[in-house]
């Protein structure tokens, strides 16, 4: 169940099967898929000397090359392929598609292949971006892909198709034919579950795998059941970089960082090639700081030894260690730059204070002190508008049902502190979108006496770190699932049912996942509890992209009634406000 490996295997198989010098043609979606798991040098070592996009019209004619096309079958890419085959630029063509190819497309390609250059037509199901071995994303982000159709309960049809294919590809590449469970409250999760089930039936011949003792589970969840996790500040390395700077396909843009060296304007974070990152990606900033210190010291020791070259032996040793040394020096400066930028941002936006309140809102909920702190932070000019909006959103999610909540005066306070109307409207959107009426589980554990007691008990145990005490709702769900206690009434099966403890769990989250959840999954898998989990979603969110997605959806919904109507909810007291 290592999805990075399975994508790598697909690609290695492709470049190994075709011998000799070759060119690799990709499209706009397969390029990130391949870039996330392979490097240019690994392609070069397989005699793949040229990589290009199929939509690049200015490719030269090179008949002496073989061509591997790795393409996501869509009507546009098939059209491009048709044009390519009509006037082939390369000698032989080996076509690999990242998903199932319809018969009509095959027919169309066969019709135009008058030069008989096509040697192979294959379906290799590497149709998702594998980020960590247990974490994938379909990279469906705005503006290319919209998630919601014309209400918060309908899919955009183009996105829906892509999601179905993506989930199927995950299942096929892991060779799993699962039982499907979904979140009952979510219309979109149900639609997806049914469609995936239907497709598995339709492509029955593909899903013939060796039967396992316990059937794997595909669990389809909805982000709206847990709107809190993407709103929190993050303190572990991978999650923090994404929250503050943004990781896009393993690349981080540092060009806005003051006094950055030109070669560090854009950096790469890859588990495979960067042992330091692999070791520290799930550690919090404090431990990371200590590790980076020892890393720098190791580097210093090496520099020193390389400086005093006195004898031939020294020189010999230096030359031997030189590549290692160069690699180390590049890596050290990369991580030092990154971590110093992170701590600069933390300092600048007083994120420690913000995060403390966030955690208190998410985990405990002591209304009077929370409110006081919140008012204090809103008045603080150093804290960014986005943080303030996040805090008030968390507050209103938390105390939505509490009779003495004070959202209206907080919004007034935001206005007085010069936060734009546009941003304030988000608070209304998220309440509409993921308020307690939209959620099916007791997210804050405050709805029943039993869970309330559990909460108090948790508070008594004490916490290791104030800033990372929140654990996403997802980990609770997984815990219940592996114990066989996840209620069928709220997480029904599409077909069949089992009471066994599942061994392989594949989770897909409609509406995006977060790196915080990825970290929890990695911990669960590392604890080797006899089951394995793979998590993925439509995209990987940080707070900014999450806010944008919801906002974009709400501006388009005709039923939403515009910003004013949503805000009206806060201006006049209504059921308990």
């Amino acid at each position: 169940m290592d999805i990075v490996k399975s994508v790598q295997n697909y690609i290695n198989k492709m470049v190994n099967e075709v011998t000799g010098m070759k060119v690799l043609l990709l499209d706009s979606e397969t390029t990130p898929i391949i870039s996330n798991v392979m490097t240019q040098s690994s392609l070069l070592s397989h005699e793949t000397y040229l990589v290009d996009r199929i939509d690049n019209k200015n490719r030269d004619r090179m008949r002496h090359l073989k061509c591997i096309c790795f393409i996501r079958p869509t009507s546009e890419t098939i059209q491009m392929l048709v044009e390519e085959l009509r006037d082939p630029r390369y000698g032989d063509y080996y076509l690999y598609f990242s998903n199932t190819l319809s018969k009509s497309s095959i027919e169309r390609l066969a019709e135009v292949d008058e030069h008989e250059v096509v040697r192979e037509v294959q379906e290799y199901f590497a149709d998702y971006c594998a980020i960590n071995p247990d974490f994938y994303s379909l990279n469906l982000s705005l503006p290319q892909y919209r998630l919601y159709g014309d209400s918060q309960n309908t899919w955009e049809s183009k996105t829906f198709q892509r999601v179905i294919e993506g989930v199927l590809a995950v299942l096929l590449s892991l060779k799993k034919k699962p039982l499907i469970r979904y979140e009952k409250m979510s219309v979109m999760a149900k639609a997806l579950a049914e469609e995936v089930h239907y497709s598995i039936q339709k492509e029955g011949e593909l899903f013939v795998f060796r039967p396992t003792d316990t059937p794997p589970i595909l669990l389809i969840l909805d982000r709206r059941n847990d709107p809190v996790t993407p709103l929190l500040s993050q303190w572990t390395y991978q999650a923090m970089v994404h929250e503050l700077l943004g990781i896009h396909n393993g690349r981080v843009d540092l060009s806005d960082v003051p006094d950055i060296r030109p070669e560090l304007k854009e950096i790469v974070l890859s588990r495979d090639q960067d042992p330091f990152y692999k070791k520290n990606m799930y550690l919090n900033l404090g431990d990371l700081g200590a590790n980076i210190k020892s890393y720098v010291e190791e580097y210093q020791a090496k520099t020193k030894s390389s400086i005093n070259i006195e004898s031939i032996a020294d020189m010999k040793r230096f030359v031997e260690e030189y590549p290692e040394f160069r690699k180390l020096s590049g890596n050290v400066s990369k991580h030092v730059a990154l971590v110093s930028e992170l701590s600069r941002l933390v300092e600048k936006e007083t994120l420690l204070e913000v995060s403390e309140l966030e955690q208190s809102l998410a985990c405990y909920g002591q209304h009077s002190s929370d409110l006081k702190n919140l008012q204090k932070l809103i008045a603080n000019p150093k804290i960014s508008e986005d943080s303030k909006i996040r805090l008030v959103s968390l507050y209103s999610l938390r105390y939505e049902k509490s009779p003495n909540n004070d959202v209206i005066s907080l919004i007034e306070l935001l206005r007085r502190n010069g936060v734009s109307e546009d941003k304030i409207s988000f608070i209304g959107s998220i309440m509409e979108f993921a308020g307690s009426d939209q959620r099916q589980d007791d997210l804050f554990s405050n709805e029943s006496l039993l869970s309330f007691g559990k909460n108090v008990f948790k508070g008594l145990k004490g916490v290791e770190n104030v800033y990372t005490q929140h654990s996403p709702h997802l980990s609770q769900t997984i815990e219940l699932l592996v114990k066989g206690k996840l209620k069928e009434t709220s997480y029904p099966f599409i077909e069949g049912s089992t009471k066994d403890r599942p061994q392989d769990i594949i989770i897909f989250m409609v509406g995006g996942v977060t790196y915080e959840e990825a970290r929890h999954i990695a911990q669960i898998n590392a604890s080797a509890a006899g089951f394995r989990v793979v998590l993925g979603g439509t995209t990987v969110h940080n707070s900014v992209s999450y806010l944008n997605e919801i906002q974009d959806a709400f501006y388009r919904f005709p039923s939403g009634g515009g910003t004013g109507a949503r805000l009206a909810r806060f201006s006049k007291p209504r059921n308990g406000y």
Binding site: S41, V51, K103, Q122, R251, S270, V319, E320, P323
Partner: protein, 302 residues
């Protein structure tokens, strides 16, 4: 890792289409003429365009040569290693033949490395000098990188092998000299006043010869390490560092389109310049004409 092959279905469809269209192959383009050249007449009567691009660029041959050389090095390395091991073991036989063999192999490998390096350089020169299309140049650069990394890997393993052999040789030498030292001490005590006996003298001489030979060997090896290190350094500039942006596939693809775009821009600029020069030429011509007419005007009235 499920996969599904659609090749058979594709071929089936293709064959039906081919029959329907009564094989349009033979008349379609120059490429097919190339394919079916056996059936074609010797003298092309039609206006076929002979496609030169079917032929790979010249430097591809060099690439093959380098590949062969690399294979050869790969074969020689284990042989050398086993010889090294055999030579390190203590023994009483005459070793000169073995030593010669080791020396020869080391020389050969070093030579091959040098040869590869110069060939890679030649690829660079050839692809730059020819008026190659943009993409071909990109490809030759990629090929150089790939060859360089292959060579780099090999040379580093070769150097490590040499270094460990050297260390062992040195270790044996120092052990040996210790042994000789003790022995001479013993004899000194016994024959303090008698001076060296002839047999002792002979022994010292022979051990000196052995030592000097060792010395020579060590210098030889150190030299080969040095040469390889030089090659290593030169190649390093070609190799992509792991984990950098340069090693990203998407980055390279983006660069490619950026390059193409800038090339197009430059072409446009070139066209503009050309237009300008054409204008200038016309102006110059007109000026010359006017000048000529003036001269005619000056001379005519007389």
């Amino acid at each position: 890792m499920a996969t599904r092959s659609r090749t058979l279905l594709f071929l089936k469809y293709r064959n039906t289409f081919a029959r329907n269209h009564s094989r349009p192959l033979a008349t379609s383009s120059g490429y097919d003429a190339y394919n079916t050249s056996e059936q074609a007449g010797l003298i092309e009567s039609s206006d076929h365009v002979i496609e030169l691009t079917v032929l790979p660029p010249k430097w591809i041959d060099i690439v093959d040569e380098v590949d062969d050389d690399i294979d050869q090095i790969k074969n020689l390395l284990p042989t050398l290693e086993s010889l090294h091991k055999k030579h390190i073991l203590p023994g009483f036989d005459d070793r000169t033949k073995e030593e010669k063999e080791i020396e020869r192999l080391t020389d050969e490998i070093t030579h091959l490395f040098q040869q590869c390096q110069s060939k890679i350089k030649r690829i660079a020169n050839e692809s730059l000098s020819s008026i190659a299309p943009n993409q071909e140049r990109a490809m030759s650069k990629n090929i150089q990188t790939s060859l360089a990394s292959k060579l780099q890997e090999l040379s580093s393993s070769f150097r490590k092998q040499q270094a460990s052999y050297l260390k062992k040789l040195k270790g044996r030498e120092s052990k040996g000299s210790k042994f000789f030292l003790i022995e001479s001490n013993d004899s000194n005590e016994d024959d303090l006043e008698l001076g060296f006996t002839s047999s002792q003298l002979a022994r010292v001489e022979s051990s000196e010869a052995v030592i000097s030979q060792r010395e020579r060997e060590i210098i030889e090896i150190a030299k080969s390490i040095h040469t390889i290190a030089e090659i290593f350094r030169e190649l390093q500039s070609l190799v992509i560092d792991q984990g950098t942006l340069l090693d990203r596939i998407d980055y390279n693809v983006e660069q490619m389109s950026v390059n193409v775009k800038s090339a197009v821009r430059e072409l446009d600029k070139g066209a503009q310049y050309q237009k300008k020069t054409r204008n200038r030429k016309i102006i110059l011509l007109l000026l010359l004409l006017i000048f000529g007419l003036i001269i005619i005007l000056i001379f005519k009235p007389r």
